[in-house]
Structure formats: structure tokens, C-alpha cells
Symmetry: C2
Subunit: 213 residues, 2 copies
């Protein structure tokens, strides 16, 4: 996909520079049989778009750079901790009913289940809750620990992971939310302390803010 | 926010070009009291990043362009129809139970409710369904029309709207999904035909694919 729409002449210029660059504006104009002045706006557009580079006393050259490279560069530089949300947690012994109420009050789609020490034990989504309420059991008595997805079957992210990598995890594992965790040693075993929540909403918000709105 | 991290020297170069551009590489090197060769890598980085422009026989100039401008340009050019998903619909007379089953089978978070003629009547989310199952009523007998959000209180998008504008709607109205509709005249009134579904998942997927992964 190329999201920058080029005119026929701009395509032609790109081709010339790809084949003959570095090349001066004058030489490009000659090849196209147009004046240097007529060529200028197209060169400006192609240079602004990053498709052509220009070096003083050398000429124009083909960068091979696509808009996506700029985007990949930007997204690869933003860390999860810069966009993450506050984690909403309950204890494993909470009832499904209480977890649902927390979900409504906090207006979140996923709740993390933590141990007494604050370590990640599991995770429940609206989908899990919907299944639980359909199951015909008394959700006031059913502990959330019975219906949650349990460690180690949880995909996590880290504060300093790039949002691009975290977004890939969301897509690849088909989940809406990742706990943002810090790995700690506890009684000789690796445990996760939950420090945030990374969701498709964070990405959507980032998407809008990156565009400067 | 500036997501491109610059060194002290690169900041200095930017400042020089902002104040004195257009300026040749040689002149910049003189001002910094370094050799032209030592300066070259920094100039390349700043030009590649789009922060500096260069024009043969003129010199370097400050573009005033930020990475976000590139991103806004790209996102503003992608249309909803290029990334949308297939809409999942039920009829208003369907039971809440059947709508939930459809939700699970299709693995979607939002279902659109349409009239006999296929026009948009309403929308139900997992949250609406969860509320309905908590309500203590018999969800086998409860029609989905009773619990849905009803037209005209539904935020919609259009096939040719930009994904950026549609993403803004998701954030502004705090919803997870928008019906993609075409406006039609039916018996003298404006109606919406549902042609797609635009969600935060579409944006997350786009986000990943734009970065070229």
C-alpha cells in the first residue's frame, strides 16, 4: 500500500532519480523536457514526503524510504508506560458479582486478579463474566478465581516495551488488554507485580494524539 | 512530545539552521568548530527524520515538520472501508440469549440490530448484555430490542471517512465499535444501511501493519 498519491509526472521523476541519482534538478528537468521552474513544486512534494533526498552540491537521490518507515520509527520509540492506564484489580476470593460491579464502576473491559502480596494471579474479561452469568450458577457465591484465565496463560507487557511490540501481542493473541508488569523474585520464584493496563483504547488514543488532534 | 531523540549536537544544529537557514553544511561545520566530515552523520539523521530539508545549491533549511505531520498525512488518507470488519447483525425480535450466543460464535464485542429491510435500528455491546443477564429477567424471553442502544443515539461512520476521524469518534464518545453505514432514502426518510464494523481492533491492526510488520 502506498498512501501518498503521486501524479504521473511525480512517478516519472521518482523513476529518473531511482535510475540516475544523485542527479541535479536541472538534469531531471532536461530529461522531462520541462523548465526547472515547472519542476520545482514536484521536487518539493517528493522531498517533503521523504521519497527523495537532496544533498547540497550533490543532487537528488532516491531514499527508498516509505511513510511507514517514519511511522515504524515513531511507534518503536514510544514505550508502554507513556500511554498505559491504571490497572483495576480484585482478589481471587472476590465473587463474580463483585468483579462485575467493579467492571461497571471503573468502566473497564478487563480486571486483573492479584494475590494478597499484589502479584498477578489471573485476569477476567467481560466475555468471561458473560459466560459466568450464563452458566446458571449463583454469581454471588462463585469466586472470580474459578472463571478467570490463570497464570502462566496470560500475555503480559512491560513498562519499557515499545507500544508497537505490545500492539502486536494484542493482535497475535487476540486479546483486548495486557497487564503491564514488573518481574520480581519472591521466595525464589519469578512473580509479576501489576503496574498498569495496556489496551486497544490506549492505542486508539495514541493514534489520534499522534496525528496532532 | 517529540518522539525522535536528538543528541545535544543535533539540537544545536537544528537551532543553527532555524536561525540562519538556508545554510550550507560547511557553514554549519564552521559555526560548530568541527569538520564537515564529523558533521555529516548528524545532518543525514536530521534530514532523514524530516526535521531538516536540503536543496542542492541552496543549503539546509528548517522544515518545521514533525513526525506527527507525516503520521497525520498517512492516517488522514486511509479510509474506513480499507480496514473495516464484516458487520454481525441480529433482528430486533431476537432474544438476548440468542444475541449473546451470536456474540460468542462470531467473537465480536458489538452486534448491530437491523430491521426487516436491513436498516440500522440499534446496537448491543458485551456491557449491555452483561447488564441484561444481571437484571434477573429470563434472557430467553427478553427481546434484544429492549436492552439495545437505539437510533438515533448511535455514533456511525462511513466507508469513505478517514480512519483518523473515525478513531476520534471512538475516543470522544467512549465506544468500542462504530457501524459503518450508507445513508439511503426509504419512504421519504433517511435510513442507514449497515455495510461494516469499525473497531479499536481495526485500529490496532492498522497500527501494526503501518509499521510494516
Amino acid at each position: 500500500m502506498n498512501y501518498i498519491e503521486l501524479t504521473k509526472r511525480q512517478e516519472k521523476i521518482l523513476e529518473i532519480v531511482r535510475n540516475h541519482g544523485p542527479i541535479t534538478g536541472e538534469e531531471i528537468a532536461q530529461k522531462l523536457n520541462i523548465s526547472r521552474a515547472a519542476l520545482r513544486p514536484d521536487l518539493t512534494i517528493l522531498t517533503m514526503a521523504g521519497l527523495l533526498g537532496a544533498r547540497p552540491r550533490v543532487g537528488y537521490y532516491y531514499t527508498g524510504r516509505e511513510p511507514r518507515d517514519v511511522i515504524a520509527g515513531v511507534l518503536g520509540n514510544i514505550r508502554v508506560q507513556e500511554v498505559q492506564s491504571r490497572p483495576i484489580v480484585v482478589r481471587e476470593t472476590s465473587s463474580v458479582y463483585d468483579a462485575i460491579v467493579t467492571m461497571f464502576i471503573e468502566d473497564v473491559g478487563t480486571i486483573f486478579v492479584v494475590s494478597e502480596e499484589g502479584f498477578l494471579e489471573g485476569l477476567v474479561s467481560r466475555k468471561d463474566m458473560l459466560k459466568a452469568t450464563m452458566g446458571g450458577k449463583d454469581i454471588n457465591k462463585l469466586p472470580v478465581g474459578v472463571v478467570m484465565t490463570r497464570m502462566p496463560n496470560i500475555i503480559v507487557t512491560y513498562p519499557d516495551e515499545s507500544v508497537l511490540r505490545a500492539a502486536e501481542k494484542l493482535i497475535h493473541h487476540q486479546v483486548d488488554s495486557l497487564p503491564v508488569v514488573e518481574s520480581v523474585q519472591h521466595e525464589g520464584r519469578e512473580k509479576y507485580r501489576v503496574v498498569g493496563r495496556f489496551t486497544k483504547t490506549n492505542i486508539t488514543r495514541l493514534f489520534v494524539s499522534l496525528a496532532g488532534k
